[in-house]
């Protein structure tokens, strides 16, 4: 799946907005928080599909050039994936609405709540690092695809200067 920069930017911003909403359960309430969490799993899969080529490339050449920026990106992204998987799994384990909707009753240990909190905190930290590592890309593309088009809407249009044209009389013709 080859995605343009614009598509990647839209996907990134959408996932970021979804993350903010999911990580604020007080905003949505518990039921929506749980279902959004399930949907976020699908969003992560989509994100990985869009970056599949890069993913395969870096995975196969991971140890060839270990100390490079893309390896750091890869490590951060991998940790983020692990943290989100742990958060989703623990969220499902402690969920009340999703599991009861599916007709599953779980008698789980309280450790899952701790794991859910730890994984959520870790994913926030990793998201911050991910942002910092892609800062230049983000700034450039937000400027190019969001700020510039918005600015051009509010910018007054330049009027073409009126040039006086000499009138031609029938005699001159």
């Amino acid at each position: 799946m080859n995605a343009s920069t614009k598509t990647n930017l839209v996907l990134d911003l959408t996932i970021f907005a979804a993350f903010l909403v999911i990580a604020s359960p007080a905003l949505t309430g518990n039921t929506i928080h749980e279902w959004l969490g399930v949907a976020f799993g699908a969003a992560i899969v989509t994100y990985l599909l869009f970056h599949w080529k890069w993913l395969v490339e870096v995975t196969t050449k991971f140890f060839q050039n270990f100390f490079s920026q893309s390896r750091l990106n890869y490590a951060v992204d991998l940790l983020f994936f692990l943290a989100m998987t742990a958060a989703l799994l623990s969220g499902l384990m402690i969920s009340k609405d999703v599991m009861s909707f599916l007709g599953i009753q779980l008698d789980v240990s309280r450790n899952w709540k701790t794991i859910h909190n730890l994984a959520s905190d870790a994913s926030v930290i990793l998201l911050g690092i991910h942002f910092a590592l892609h800062w230049k890309w983000l700034l450039a593309n937000i400027g190019c695809y969001i700020v510039s088009p918005l600015a051009s809407i509010f910018k007054p249009r330049e009027q073409k200067p009126v040039v006086a044209m000499p009138l031609q009389t029938s005699k001159e013709k």
Partner: protein, 107 residues
């Protein structure tokens, strides 16, 4: 077909990770025994259960309810945390680049 295979690979990796987390959590004790005794595990009671009693939601929202003011505040804190971490990492990167430049100049 290719995309379906890729999705399956991603789900497989997620399953492996989930199994690891599950094994880790179920075989280790993260909460002290006293704490575990105090708090009962989450119960998945059915709505038709006789013991189920619906709780009245306070106006400002409760633990499980939505509250716009609390939610926006929570989101603001979250944004501040992410921004803080981003700024710290950017500063560290800048400092590392400066140190590297200094080293190159001295050599």
């Amino acid at each position: 077909m290719k995309v379906i295979l890729r999705i399956l690979v991603i789900l497989l990796v997620a399953t492996v990770v989930s199994s690891g987390v599950y094994a880790l959590v179920e075989n280790t004790s993260l909460v002290s025994s006293n704490e575990a005794e105090r708090g009962a595990p989450p119960q998945m009671t059915d709505t038709d259960d006789a013991s189920f009693q619906p709780m009245e939601r306070p106006a400002d929202g409760d633990e499980h309810g939505a509250s716009l003011s609390r939610g926006v505040g929570e989101m603001g804190v979250l944004l501040a945390k992410i921004s803080g971490i981003t700024i710290i990492v950017l500063l560290v990167q800048k400092a590392a680049a400066l140190l590297q430049n200094k080293k190159l100049k001295t050599v």
